[in-house]
Structure formats: C-alpha cells, structure tokens
Amino acid sequence: MSANSHALVMLRRNVKHLTRNPTSVFNAVLMPIIIMLMFVYMFGDAFSVGVDYIDYATPGLILLAVCYGLGGTATAVNSDMTKGIINRFKVMDVSRGAVLTGHVIASVLTNVIAIAALVGVAFLLGFSPSASLTDWLGVAGVAVLLAFAAGWFTVALGLSAKSPETAGMAAVPLVMLPFFSSAIVPAEKMGPGLRQFAEYQPFTPIIETMRGLLRGAPDTTDAAVAVAWCVVIALVGYLWARSTFTKRA
C-alpha cells in the first residue's frame, strides 16, 4: 500500500468528520456568507471605494472564507493529537505524512466549498467581475494556493496547541488578520501604523492579486509577492508540522 492510498484513507476519515460535525461546516461555509451580507448591506454604502462595494469586497471575503475554515482544522488536528489518535497512527506501519496530508486536503476542500458558496451568493448580490476564463483560473489558483499554505500552517498550530480549545483560540488571529488588510476597506483609508501593517502583511498582496484578476487587469508585482508569501507560509507550516509530529508523543 503506498503513501498516497494511506493519505486517501485519512482524507476519507476527515471528510466523514466534516459531514458529522455541522458546527464546523457552519463556521466554515455560512459565517463568511453572513459576514458578506452584513458588510454589503449594513456598511457597504458607508464605504466609498470607487467601485460597487460588492465588487471591491468579494476578493477580501474569499480570503476571509479561507481563514474561517481554519479554526475547524486546528481543532480537529489538535483533538487527534490530544486524544491519542495520532499516536495510534504513529505506532502503525502507516506512512508518516498521511495523517497530516489528509487534514490539509480536507481543509482545502472545505475552503473550496466555502469559496464557491460565497462567490455564488456574491453573484446574487450583483457581483459583476470583468475577468476572463484565464483570470478566473488565476483566482482559483491563488485561492487554492493560499488554502494549501494556510492549511499546513494551521495543522502545525493544531499539533502544537495544548488542547482543542487553545487550538481554536490560536486560529483566531488568522480570522482577524483579513480585517487588518485591504479586504474590507482600502489600506490608505486606515490610520497611521495600521495602514503600514495592512500594506505589508501577507494577505494584502494576495487580495490585491485576486482583485486585479477579477477586474481583468492582474498586477504581476502583487501576484509575485502573493505567491512568494504563500510558498513561505506553506514551507514554514510544513516544516513546523513535520517536526512537531515527529517529536510530540
């Protein structure tokens, strides 16, 4: 049996978990939509961003959808760790990475479902991007790359946390981070300090890349920075997760 088929068995387990744990699905899929409705209807008219607010906000909300899914991943990984499930797999002749890969892929899948639902609702709210098919593929690529990178990072967080509760808490900054980026309002409208933070944090170039693609005018500098950030986050997360997985017993 190869490493791939072990990862597939683990993925099947994670998918079963998702279908039996409605709260995590609620958090991952419905919360971003609720937040979108809130911002678009309640605050949308108050922000002047130069274009229709829904067109401005959708890329940022895609990012938010990724982040909301991560809380569930962190909790699930940690519960496997603290309840001895990971140790059970570790003493079996099971390929080392399979259990972690399973969690990452399940996390990406949840994110993809959440993003698809969110974009669907955005269209209902009048979202009108001028992206070509290639641009859309670009958006999908960036979103999956981010989901993958953040997934590895979150798996590492989950492995390191002391309990499922602290693991859930550890993911909160990830959920907050999009608010301090150009997701909801442009960075130049923020106060000093916060503005610099928003401009230089990893989520802003990722959002700007998607924004550019959806406008049909992608910015290559933003795209390069976005991809670089994702690669760095994925690598740090992967190495951190692997070393915690090996050490912690």
Partner: protein, 312 residues
C-alpha cells in the same frame, strides 16, 4: 518457545535534565505476559513510548520482534499492536468504521477488511453497537473497541499501557479474560499497571519500576517470597490493650496508629487456635482478627520503602 520477543538493555531516557529511565534491562519471552509495575510517574508510559517507537531513547539498545527500534522502526511497527493509556478511538466514527479504518491502513489485511472487522466486533461483543458513533460508548466498550482496533492484522506483540485504569471491576475482569485469550493464541503481551492484583493475575513475569529503575523482577511468586510471610493481624480498641498484647507477643510488630499487631503465623487452624488461646490466657480480646498472606502491595512497600498509593 525460548525466543525473546522484547529485549531491553541499558535503556535510558531523560527530558532535559529530568531522568525518567535510568538504565533499565529486561527480556520478555515470546508468548508470555510481562508486566511492568509501578506507581504514577515511575516511567511506565515512557518505557512503552520508547519500545513502540514513539520516543527516541537516549541510551541503551532495544530489540522488539528481533528488530532494533533505533534502526528498523518500520519493521517494529509492522509487528506490534499498541493500546495507549487513553482509549484512542475516533468518536465521530462508528465502532465498525473505527475498525475498518485500521483495516484500511493495515498492509496485512488488505482486501480482507470487512471479514476481519466483523470477526473482531463479534469477538468483543460489540456487534449490537457496531453502527453507533463511538462517542456514545461506555468506558468499558471504548476500551474494548480500542483493543479490537489494536488487534487488526494480528500483531504478535501487544503493548497495553494501563488497560484497566478507570474501569469498573466487571469491565476489568472482561479485559483480563481477553488478555488471557490473547496469550492462549500465542501473542506476547507487555502490560503496564499500577494495580498489583492485575500483575498477579495476568503476568508470567513482573518487573517493578520505581523512579526510573527496576527494583525487582521475577515471577509473582518469586517476588512474594522476597518479603516476610503470612501473619495474623489483631486490631484492638484501646492503646492499653495493644500495650498488653505487645507484651504477650514479643515477636510481633505493632502499628500504633491502627492499634494493630502483626503476629507471624502460618495461617493454619492449629497455630491460629494457639494464638487465640494465648490471648485468652491473658484475658485479652481483639476487636478484629485477620489472616494476611503477602500480596504484591507488600512486595512493593518492602522494595521501594513507599506504598503505591503514597507515590500518587
């Protein structure tokens, strides 16, 4: 069979500067039950974690099923089954799905999974609850499911880390009979426990671990022979009575706190009658009289200078 299933020599493990295992040596013959006995914090779980490849040893050599754990961990993993201290079952899956998961991950049962799962459910009397989520199982059922998961693929060496901690007496007996059945099938069992009775009941050999060192090992009977023999325990109501009795039985040891006297005797009716007659002659009567044969608790106290309870 005289082959070694597990052989450990000079095993050392420390966390930072805290020494947990300080040069442990033992052999476990194939097809026997070996019990590692000790209070909480003695290093039992650390030993299991090292032997099952979860933790790296700092020193010494360990061979499990003939493979060196340091250089051939993969082969060790393929030969063993491990049930940890806490029932590691997936609560969101049903009992059947938990077992199926193990079968899907086991190279030895590939293609045969459903039959293996059904047999294990049957054997552990879990068939009726097989399709309910494991989160609804009682403590005893979880332990049974946990052990059943360990047995998928018929491992030849099984590690059980405190398998009955937290179980009610009835579930404990069920667990014991399962372990006996395993041994009857030729499986080697490495068991840790803090219950002396459990080691006494199940183990062919017992090693007593205290603060990272083995303070004794042997058969349960050999260990019992290490300490003073059978005695009669007399408990009195007042200190004055105890004092008077202590004069009558100078060979006895007294326990002032419990107002009790331990008189060496062989437990036969003849010596017991003689003892009671002597009490009568001096117009003394004990409130309670009990015949005490040494158990492993006494061994533990004699070997380590503290009881299992005191160390908790």
């Amino acid at each position: 069979m005289t082959t070694s299933a597990i052989s450990v020599s000079g095993l050392r493990k420390a966390y930072q500067d805290k020494v947990v295992l300080d040069g442990v040596d033992f052999e476990v013959r194939a097809g026997t039950v070996f019990s590692l006995l000790g209070p909480n914090g003695a290093g039992k779980t650390t030993t299991v974690n090292v032997l099952t490849t979860l933790l790296r040893a700092d020193g010494g050599t360990v061979r499990v099923a003939g493979h060196d754990i340091a250089t051939d961990a993969k082969a060790v993993r393929a030969a063993i089954g491990v049930t940890g201290q806490f029932a590691a079952v997936d609560e969101l899956l049903t009992g059947r799905e938990n077992l199926q998961l193990m079968a899907d991950l086991n190279r030895k049962v590939a293609g045969n999974g459903e039959r293996v799962v059904a047999q294990l459910l049957e054997r552990f009397e879990l068939t009726a609850s097989a399709d309910k989520p494991a989160s609804t199982y009682s403590g005893g059922m979880r332990r049974k499911l946990d052990l059943a998961m360990t047995l998928v693929g018929d491992p030849q060496i099984i590690f059980l880390d405190e398998p009955t901690t937290g179980l009610d007496p009835r579930s404990r007996r069920t667990m014991w009979s399962i372990v006996r059945d395993l041994v009857a099938d030729g499986v080697t069992v490495f068991l840790t426990t803090q219950y002396l009775e459990e080691a006494d009941q199940l183990a062919d050999r017992v090693a007593v671990l205290d603060r990272g060192r083995l303070v004794a090992q042997g058969t349960p009977d050999e260990l019992k022979r290490l300490i003073p023999g059978t005695h009669v325990r007399l408990r009195f109501t007042t200190a004055a009575e105890l004092d008077a009795a202590a004069v009558v039985f100078p060979e006895a040891t007294r326990d002032d706190e419990a107002l009790a006297l331990r008189v060496p005797a062989d437990g036969g009716t003849k010596s017991l009658r003689a003892l009671l007659d002597r009490l009568d002659e001096h117009s003394l009567s004990a409130e309670e009289c009990s015949v005490h044969t040494p158990d492993l608790d006494d061994v533990f106290l004699a070997l380590t200078g503290h009881t299992t309870e005191a160390a908790k």
